[in-house]
Subunit: 422 residues, 2 copies
């Protein structure tokens, strides 16, 4: 490794994953007396909360992604490495990549989560999840092609199936996708076709729990349900998907023939626990101590969706959301900087719950800030402002804000491209 | 066909291809007493003159593409069909698609051109051309990955090969790609890497003719060459590529090891002539009469890159550029509207040469308008203004203009995403 030949006194911090957690950790180490290497399989940091807008043709991939190098280019102690981690040798203290190994003094695992099909992995091909830009453009293609095929389908039953969209999982992603597809069908595409009426599309949101947005206060979940129903979305709460096949989805006892099925019902942590050979919880997350350190492996930390950090107040693990990852990343970065400066005192992460929000459609959202609940237009404006503010990079903020302004004024969605292989 | 059942008195105009020519023809038929069906394999109209900017991470696909349906949605006599033409039955007067056939009364073939490797089709995989959004994002991936791989390549020879970019063909696409890669390497990526200096990248433009931009006046071609050389591009005019393999390119007698090779040296018309079974010129174009009609096939027209229309003034075919396609499309659209109204008088297409332009890099371009030649900053500003003006759709104009403004101020390129399969 050239960088190891170059300097060897400063401790080497390896951060795996350039999501919210990994980037926050790297930034907290700017100027610290360490060498930092950020490893990611992808060259870009992705603003996942808006990924569903790429899948529904509202935004372009480049609007919500930024090259990791560009984000960190001013940070001279930090190097970015585009590569895939295949394992970790905790005895030798090295991270194994495809063609080489990298030694670490401190290791931060921020590898995120992927979809879990609860043992039904055969459903993945038919009901893809939404984690990467490739997922998003593939789902966009499926949705737009469904309308195209329906336009020239003579058989009413097959046409109905093409115009049925099933979203499995009533969390923010499922709710936001359902709202966005409803608006795409009822507004953006309304005048584009000659034989079908896109507004007749059937959109079904399936949630095993009692109501959508189970992690939100009950009133907000019910508000989201009302908003979705006003947009024409069928909300099937308290119902499980029992079967997914070529034809469609079995929702409880009802067969719903559908061309487009999107999965956001469950996640499982990336294989970090397996790499380390340590204890994981049911969702595959590495069980960490109060300082996000992995017990028994000095200098190794896990954060964000990769980690199970039990909140002493509630006795439950923190949820897999961006603010947890960001705060843990910043905490671990600062902790490593202190350790590198010789400060060995124990530390404890504290989570500051800033609230949560989800948008349902044009002028509709639900937000919670501490005990304050906001709905409707004010919530929607807050949702938009906070998402633009939290985007990485000025250019992206500008692009997203102007796309939204345009969409607001025209009811159109600007990225209706069918690209890639069929 | 549902649409054929619906109305049968009005003549049916089938337009194959929604590029510049096909769209112009469709628009000229707005309000005419005909039914129009526009068929394209893709759901979007592509503004090809800016495709190289997607390939070099300056713009996003959605900035230069627009759904064909959205463009034509206000035109109630027009239907859009996303399908692939596989043949034409001129006796039965039907266009054969994958799973059905469509009858026509008038047929406009505007299917464009694809790359020609002059019989060396095995070069295509190693030296892709730039025709579709998929081509552009694939080339973008190759270029950005080359820098990523070079950053961690210890062998100086292999590093040199990774940082060598060869553009084959000195027309506007080759010239604009060369300038854009030079700026990407020298400006946008300058501070991003730690072990390589992106500015050391070697960029080679190969042109078999005497100078770049052979179709431009000699002074402008020489000016473009000087501009490119000032950006550090090696311009190899009067030199042929004799071999392309895994290692790189044989440029005349010199072996140039290179990871990234882009082909823009030649085009051949799409197989319209073969579908029709009519005479084609050497470039595969359908030889058409003065009214763009295909001799011997009443009601069948070929336009743009698909057609060989010999200019009576010069005795030579018109070049394969956007203005020719647009003007022929509008001409044929108007002619068909007249024919549908019972006017059988002969007509003759007249080409109005508005000039030509190519940009070389920041603040540099060459333009010709009639006998007037413009270079440098004024040409660059004109180039930018005219391209924004000619873009299809207000949203795209806004997006491209704001991306350019941002790039101008920051020297950055906003769409540096590595996406898709490797």
């Amino acid at each position: 490794m050239r960088n190891e030949r170059a300097s060897s006194e400063r401790p080497h911090v390896v951060i795996v994953g350039a999501g919210f957690g990994g980037l926050a950790a790297a930034r907290a180490l700017a100027g610290a007396p360490v060498r930092v290497t950020v490893i990611d399989r992808r060259n870009h940091h992705l603003f996942q909360p808006l990924l569903y807008q790429v899948a529904t043709a509202g935004l372009s991939p480049a609007d919500i992604a930024q090259p990791v190098r560009a984000v960190l280019k001013g940070q001279r102690n930090t190097q970015v490495l585009l590569d895939k981690v295949v394992g970790i040798d905790t005895a030798a203290r090295t991270v194994r990549l495809r063609h080489r190994a990298i030694a670490y003094d401190h290791l931060v695992l921020a590898t995120g989560a992927r979809h879990s099909y609860f043992g039904r992995d055969e459903w993945a091909a038919r009901a893809p999840g939404l984690k990467s830009l490739e997922d998003a453009t593939a789902i966009r293609r499926t949705i737009l092609e469904a309308f195209e095929k329906a336009e020239f389908e003579d058989d009413p039953e097959r046409r109905r199936r093409l115009l049925t969209f099933v979203l499995i999982g009533g969390g923010p992603t499922g709710v936001e996708m359902a709202g966005a597809i409803a608006e795409l069908a009822r507004k953006a595409l309304a005048a584009d076709f000659r034989t079908i009426d896109p507004a007749s599309a059937r959109i079904v949101l399936v949630e095993a729990g009692d109501r959508p947005l189970a992690a939100f206060p009950a009133r907000l979940g019910e508000e989201a349900r009302r908003n979705l129903e006003a947009l024409g979305v069928e909300v099937r709460a308290g119902t499980r998907v029992t079967r997914i096949d070529e034809e469609g989805v079995m929702v409880g006892n009802e067969k719903v023939p559908a061309e487009t099925i999107v999965w956001s019902a469950g996640v499982v942590a990336s294989p970090a626990a397996r790499w380390l050979g340590v204890e994981a919880d049911r969702a595959g997350r590495v069980v960490v101590g109060p300082d996000c350190a992995v017990p028994g492996l000095p200098g190794v930390y896990a954060i964000g969706d990769t980690a199970c950090w039990v909140d002493p107040a509630s006795g439950r693990p923190l949820p897999g959301v961006a603010p947890v990852a960001k705060q843990q990343g910043a905490f671990v970065g600062r902790l490593i900087a202190r350790r590198a400066a010789g400060d060995g005192r124990p530390a404890r992460f504290r989570y500051r719950d800033l609230g949560s929000m989800a948008t349902v459609g044009r002028k509709l959202a639900v937000c919670r800030f501490g005990a304050v609940q906001v709905t409707g237009l004010p919530a929607w404006l807050l949702w938009g402002a906070i998402h633009v503010l939290f985007l990485t990079g000025f250019r992206n903020r500008l692009a997203v804000a102007s796309n939204w302004m345009w969409a607001y004024l025209t009811f159109q969605r600007g990225a209706r491209l069918i690209t890639g292989e069929r």
